[in-house]
């Protein structure tokens, strides 16, 4: 292989090869993409930087690293089809905090529900981070906006939520009787105590999210 390579290399002059090596090193060591002026400054006078760049780009075209143009600057970058190699997925199993569990349950049962309403049911204020975690987990989404002053965002659960907890539909969430029967409700409950039926997509008091809302990424069905 070195011999054949030699044949190829001999097509260009020694001087050009040396300039190619310089350009290669410059681009490799550069902290940011280089513009033509900088490269011309660093290379020997008279070097045809454009031509050298084209040669270098050709040399690297089918390699694991490509020479790419960014605006009017140039840089090496790993070939885009190999990007996956540079990504390492680290999946951490984490237990949901008590606060997150409660908030999730309240969102599930009371949806569509605003943050203020969640706080009212919990009797404790709800940290924004808790809802973020639930959205990140893919279980909670912003559903819409309540038709009330301030038009607060309403939250609901996702398909992913049903999936994870093995529910076919929201109606499968156990009601008051079942919760009681399972011993999950403690103490004496006031007579008017009730567990709400969650409502799916159509809630008369709810507007759809605006496009702007959707942009913030929380709305994954």
């Amino acid at each position: 292989m070195p011999e054949r390579l030699h044949v190829v290399e001999s097509i260009i002059s020694n001087e050009e090869r040396e300039q190619l090596r310089m350009l290669e090193a410059l681009l490799f060591a550069a902290v940011e993409p280089l513009d033509l002026a900088t490269m011309r400054n660093r290379l020997p006078a008279g070097a045809n930087v454009e031509q050298l760049l084209r040669d270098l780009q050709g040399t690297y075209a089918r390699r694991g690293v490509n020479l790419v143009r960014v605006g009017d600057r140039w840089r090496f970058r790993t070939a885009s089809d190999l990007a996956h190699l540079l990504r390492q997925d680290a999946v951490e199993e984490r237990k949901l905090s008590r606060a997150a569990l409660e908030t999730l349950a309240i969102i599930a049962y009371h949806q569509p529900v605003t943050r203020a309403e969640i706080e009212e049911v919990r009797g404790v204020s709800v940290n924004k981070g808790v809802i973020d975690v639930l959205m990140e987990a893919g279980w909670v989404r912003m559903r819409g906006r309540r038709r009330s002053p301030g038009r607060p965002v309403t939250y609901g659960t996702t398909i992913g939520f049903l999936d994870h907890f093995g529910l076919e539909q929201l109606d499968d969430l156990p009601g008051l009787e079942e919760l009681n029967g399972a011993g999950l409700l403690e103490g004496r409950l006031p007579p008017d105590f009730d567990v709400p039926r969650p409502t799916g997509e159509d809630d008369p008091d709810e507007d759809p999210l605006d496009l702007v809302d959707r942009d913030d990424g929380g709305d994954r069905p």
Binding site: A25, F28, A29, A30, V31, E32, R75, F76, R77, T78, L86, R87, Q88, D89, A90, V91, E92, E93, R94, K95, L96, R98, A100, L101, E102, L104, A105, I106, A108, Y109, V121, R122, G123, V133, E136, A137, W139, H164, F165, G166, L167, P174, L179, A182, L184, L185, E186, G187, R188, L189, P190, F193, V195
Partner: protein, 261 residues
């Protein structure tokens, strides 16, 4: 006082040996360094150095420094004493059973000097290699390995439902407590009554005085209870008189003589 080294990052300029030998005792990094510098003035290969001559040079140097009242670290003086001892052993006829011999001591000293010099040369060669970040460069802007940390949360339906059940029942039970009744406290009632004492020149029914108390639905009975208790207190303190014709009859209040003035 051991020789103290300066800032490890502060490369001092190379010493002018001749000058150093005259004045700069502190410039040496210990007696071995001084010895090595003296040895270099012999201008021979260190393997062929005359340790005896070196010892004499060193001792003379130290004596000169003391004559000039230069402060010498103890290390230098110990070395001088040791060299004087070595010198005597080298000069005196060899004693039997003496361990180690003067020649062995001299050889060891020569070895240490050669080793120190060798390490200095090695250091110089190291520094002059193609060094990363000075002569050769790594990729300036490496993409790096991107670790995508995704958290997968674990929770069972049971966890979910029991958290919900517990929170709901807890709040259902505590809601009674949470809606604290607004009460008129004893202190508040006292203050109101005390304010009214001036108007109580004649027997006045408590019911009338109640007009001065908060009287919304929620607080009517607590106002009354506190007003009554406060009036008992003020009575005990001798500021009010109380009168009631019979059980459940209206209660009358009057400022005691002089109390309202």
């Amino acid at each position: 006082m051991p020789p103290v080294e300066g800032d490890p990052w502060d490369a001092s300029p190379p010493r002018d040996e001749a000058e150093a030998l005259i004045v700069d005792v502190d410039g040496f990094e210990g007696p071995l360094d001084l010895l090595l510098s003296l040895a270099r003035t012999q201008k021979v290969d260190l393997t062929r150095i005359s340790v005896l001559a070196l010892a004499e040079q060193y001792i003379a140097y130290v004596e000169e420094a003391r004559r000039l009242r230069l402060e010498l670290a103890a290390d230098y003086l110990v070395m001088a004493a040791w060299l004087a001892y070595l010198k005597s052993k080298l000069l005196l006829p060899k004693q039997e059973e003496e361990e180690p011999s003067g020649e062995e001591m001299a050889a060891h000293l020569a070895f240490r000097l050669r080793r120190l010099e060798a390490m200095r040369e090695a250091a110089a060669r190291l520094v002059n290699r193609d060094r990363l970040g000075r002569d050769v460069f790594p990729r300036g802007d490496p993409e790096g390995m991107r670790v995508e940390r995704r958290s997968r949360y674990e929770a069972s339906l049971y966890d979910l439902l029991s958290a919900y059940g517990a929170r709901r029942s807890q709040n259902a039970a505590s809601r009674v407590v949470l809606h604290r009744r607004r009460v008129v406290g004893l202190q508040e009632a006292r203050e109101i009554l005390t304010r009214l004492i001036g108007d109580l020149a004649v027997w006045t029914p408590l019911d009338v005085l109640m007009a001065a108390f908060p009287s919304d639905d929620a607080r009517r009975s607590t106002s009354l209870a506190s007003a009554f208790s406060a009036s008992l207190e003020l009575c005990r303190e001798g500021r009010l008189d109380l009168r009631q014709e019979r059980p459940f009859a209206p209660l009358y209040l009057r400022a005691r003589d002089g109390a309202g003035a």
